[in-house]
C-alpha cells in the first residue's frame, strides 16, 4: 500500500507542495516567534475566511487565484485591525487578537452558509478551507507555492541584516535609521502571503501552528538566527511531508491536523530532549553533584 503510494505521481505532487509550504512557513515563523507575535498568524488565517467566501460569491468559481487573493486581502485587514485596535483604544492586544479572529471567522461562517444557498455545486468544496485538504493539490498549485516560497526566501536573504535587527532589537533598529514601520509591514505581507498559500492544504483553523511550532522546536536547538531559520524550515518541511504521507496512507484523515500534529510533536520532543535547553537534559545536569 505504501509502495503503491510512492509510485503515485499525485502523491509526490502533494508531498512536494506540503513540504515546500511547511518549509517556508517554518522559516518565516521564526520571526513571528522571536518578535513575540506568534498569534498574529492565527488572526491572519482566521481572518482569511471571509475573503475566500466573498471572492467565491463574486466570481462564482473555485479557481484558487481569486480565492487566495481574497484570503490575503481580508487576512491583511484583520491583522491591521488587530494591531490598530490596541493602539487606538483602551483594549489590550490579547483581547484585540481574540476579538478580530473570532469575529472575522464568524463573518466567514455566515458567508459560507450564504454560499451554500447557491444552487450551483461549485460551493461544495469551500469548507475544505476550514481544515485543509492537501489531496486536492494540483501541479500548478504546487508551482504557486514554490513561487511564493522563492519570493519569501528572496526577501529573507536580501534583507537579512534588517530582519535580524528587527527580531532582536527593534528600538535599536529604529535608532539606526532603519524604516522599521515599512519593514514590519513587509514582514506582515510575507506572512499573509504564506498563510494564504497554506490555507488550501492546512485550513484556516490550524494554519498558525505551522508558523509557530517549527520555530518553537528550532529555538530549542540553537541560539543563532541563521541556524534557527534553517532548522525551522527543515522541521516545517518534514512535518508537511510526513503529515501528507499519513493523511494519504490513512485514507479519510484531513491533512491539516496531521501536519500540525507532526510539527507540534517535533516541538514537544525538542523541548524535552534538545541539548542544553532540553527539559530532561537540564534536570540531569541539576542532579549531578557540584564540582
Amino acid at each position: 500500500m505504501i509502495l503503491e503510494l510512492f509510485r503515485d505521481p499525485t502523491f509526490w505532487t502533494v508531498a512536494l507542495g506540503s513540504s515546500l509550504l511547511g518549509g517556508v512557513a517554518g522559516a518565516l515563523g521564526v520571526f513571528a516567534v522571536l518578535r513575540r507575535e506568534s498569534l498574529i498568524g492565527d488572526v491572519m488565517s482566521h481572518a482569511a475566511l471571509p475573503g475566500i467566501v466573498l471572492a467565491f460569491l463574486i466570481t462564482g468559481s473555485r479557481e484558487l487565484p481569486p480565492l487566495l487573493l481574497g484570503a490575503a486581502l481580508s487576512a491583511g485587514i484583520g491583522a491591521l485591525l488587530a494591531v490598530q485596535i490596541p493602539r487606538r483604544s483602551r483594549i489590550k492586544p490579547d483581547a484585540a487578537l481574540g476579538l478580530v479572529l473570532s469575529v472575522f471567522f464568524g463573518i466567514g461562517i455566515v458567508g459560507l452558509t450564504v454560499a451554500q444557498q447557491r444552487p450551483t455545486a461549485a460551493q461544495a468544496g469551500l469548507d475544505r478551507f476550514l481544515f485543509g485538504q492537501a489531496a486536492t493539490m494540483l501541479r500548478r498549485d504546487v508551482a504557486a507555492i514554490a513561487l511564493a516560497a522563492l519570493l519569501v526566501l528572496a526577501f529573507l536573504l536580501l534583507l537579512w541584516k534588517e530582519w535580524k535587527l528587527l527580531a532582536f532589537d527593534p528600538v535599536f533598529a529604529r535608532a539606526c535609521g532603519l524604516p522599521v514601520g515599512a519593514l514590519e509591514a513587509l514582514l506582515a505581507a510575507l506572512m499573509v502571503l504564506t498563510v494564504a498559500i497554506g490555507l488550501p492544504a492546512v485550513g484556516v483553523v490550524l494554519m498558525s501552528a505551522l508558523l509557530v511550532a517549527p520555530a518553537a522546536a528550532a529555538r530549542q536547538w540553537t541560539d543563532r538566527l541563521e541556524r534557527m531559520v534553517v532548522l525551522a524550515g527543515a522541521f516545517g518541511a518534514l512535518s508537511g511531508g510526513l503529515g501528507t504521507l499519513m493523511s494519504a496512507g490513512a485514507g479519510q484523515l484531513p491533512t491539516g491536523p496531521l501536519i500540525v500534529l507532526m510539527a507540534c510533536g517535533m516541538a514537544l520532543l525538542s523541548l524535552l530532549i534538545a541539548p542544553r535547553r532540553g527539559i530532561l537534559r537540564r534536570r540531569r545536569t541539576h542532579a549531578r553533584p557540584a564540582g
Binding site: L99, G106, C264
Partner: protein
C-alpha cells in the same frame, strides 16, 4: 412547551450572559488568549472522554472537557515558567496540538461518533429545542437552557461571594497574590468554572465562536463604561443583545446562527469603538481637538498676562502683531481669539486685546498647571 424559536432565543441569551461574566475577567486579566486556547482544547477532552465511556450523553464528557481546559491553561503556564518559550508561542503551540489531536480522533472514529466537524466549529444551537430535560415524565424544557442557566447562576454566586477578590485580581494581580487575596485554589476554582462555561457554550457556538461570546461583549462594555460593576452589567446586557440580535439575523436570512452572533458582537464592538462616549474614536478625537484649543487659549492668556503693565504691552497685545509673537498662522490666531472672546477671557479694544478678570484667572491657573510650557518649545 414554548415555540422553538423562543426556546433557541432563551438558550442563546442565557449563553450570552453566562459567557460575558467570565469573559469580562479574562479581558481585565489579559487572559483572552488562554480563553481561546481552552475553547480549542475542550474538543480533545470531549472526544477522549467519549472514547472511554462511549456515551454522548454522559456527564463524563463535560468533566473531560473541563479538565482539558484546565490542563491547557496549566500546560501553557508550565511551558512559560520553564523559560523555553514566551507566552504567545506557548499558547500558540499547546492549543493547536490538542485541537488537531481531537480532530484526528474524530475523523478516525467517524461514524461511531455523532460529533461531526461542522458541529465542532459551529455548535448546534438550532437543535437546542430537541434536546430536552425531563424529570418524572415532566418536560422541563430544553436542556441547554438549564445548563446555561445553572452556569449563569454559579457565576453570579461566585461573583457575589468573591467580588472584592475578583476586583483586586483583575486590576492588580500581583498585589492580590502577594497579600493572599487571590490564593491558588481560588484561581483554579475560577479557571474551572470558566472552562465549564466554555464547554457548555461549545454546544451553542462551536470552537472559534465561543471566543467571540467571551470577548466581544466585555470588550464593548469596557469601551462604554468605567468601573467594574457597570462593566459587568454592561457585558451581560451586551452578551444577551449579541445572542438575540445574531439569532434574529440568522433566522431572517437563513444563515449560521453562531456566525451571525459573532458578527453581531463584532458590529456592537465596532459601533462602540467608533462612536463610544469618552473612549470611542470620535470622542477621543474631539477631546484632543478641544485640548488643543484650550492650550492655545491658555497660551494667549499667559502671553497677555506676562506683558500686562509693561512698556511693551501696547505692542504685544496689538491684534496685528499677535500672530507673529505667538508664532501662529493668522487664521489660527483669529480662531483662537474668537474662542477666547467667547469664553470671556479677553475683550477687543480697538486694535488691542485686553484680558478680563476671568482671563487673568485662567492664565494664572494655566501657569500653575504648567501645561503651557510645552508649547514654548
Amino acid at each position: 412547551m414554548l415555540a422553538p424559536q423562543v426556546e433557541i432565543m432563551l438558550v442563546a441569551a442565557l449563553a450570552g450572559a453566562a459567557c460575558a461574566l467570565p469573559g469580562a475577567f479574562l479581558l481585565l486579566r489579559r487572559m483572552v488568549l488562554i480563553g481561546d486556547a481552552i475553547s480549542h482544547s475542550v474538543l480533545l477532552g470531549i472526544v477522549a472522554a467519549f472514547l472511554i465511556v462511549r456515551d454522548l450523553r454522559s456527564p463524563m464528557l463535560l468533566l473531560g472537557a473541563a479538565s482539558a481546559g484546565v490542563l491547557t491553561a496549566g500546560l501553557a503556564e508550565a511551558l512559560l515558567r520553564s523559560g523555553r518559550l514566551k507566552e504567545d508561542a506557548a499558547i500558540g503551540l499547546v492549543f493547536p496540538a490538542m485541537f488537531s489531536l481531537g480532530v484526528v480522533l474524530i475523523a478516525r472514529g467517524a461514524g461511531s461518533i455523532r460529533l461531526d466537524l461542522d458541529a465542532v466549529l459551529l455548535g448546534e444551537l438550532a437543535f437546542a429545542p430537541f434536546d430536552r430535560l425531563t424529570w418524572g415524565g415532566w418536560d422541563l424544557g430544553p436542556r441547554g437552557a438549564w445548563v446555561m442557566g445553572t452556569l449563569l447562576g454559579l457565576h453570579i454566586v461566585f461573583l457575589l461571594a468573591f467580588y472584592k477578590e475578583l476586583q483586586l485580581a483583575a486590576f492588580d494581580p500581583d498585589l492580590a497574590q502577594v497579600f493572599g487575596f487571590w490564593p491558588a485554589w481560588l484561581h483554579y476554582a475560577w479557571m474551572a468554572l470558566t472552562s465549564l462555561t466554555v464547554v457548555a457554550a461549545f454546544d451553542v457556538a462551536g470552537v472559534v465562536l465561543v471566543v467571540a461570546m467571551l470577548v466581544a461583549p466585555p470588550a464593548t462594555a469596557y469601551l462604554l463604561t468605567d468601573g467594574l460593576g457597570r462593566m459587568l452589567l454592561g457585558s451581560v446586557g451586551l452578551g444577551v443583545a449579541m445572542a438575540m440580535g445574531g439569532y434574529s439575523f440568522a433566522h431572517a436570512f437563513d444563515v449560521s446562527i453562531a456566525g451571525a452572533m459573532a458578527t453581531a458582537g463584532g458590529l456592537l464592538f465596532a459601533l462602540a469603538w467608533i462612536g463610544g462616549p469618552r473612549h470611542g474614536l470620535i470622542a477621543r478625537r474631539r477631546q484632543a481637538t478641544q485640548q488643543r484649543w484650550r492650550l492655545a487659549m491658555q497660551l494667549l492668556a499667559v502671553h497677555l498676562l506676562s506683558h500686562e503693565g509693561t512698556p511693551a504691552e501696547a505692542e504685544e497685545s496689538a491684534l496685528a502683531h499677535l500672530p507673529s509673537h505667538l508664532r501662529w498662522k493668522p487664521d489660527f490666531a483669529i480662531a483662537v481669539i474668537r474662542r477666547a472672546e467667547a469664553a470671556g477671557w479677553v475683550i477687543q479694544e480697538g486694535e488691542r486685546l485686553r484680558l478680563t478678570e476671568a482671563g487673568r484667572q485662567a492664565a494664572r491657573e494655566a501657569l500653575m498647571e504648567g501645561e503651557w510650557v510645552f508649547l514654548l518649545r
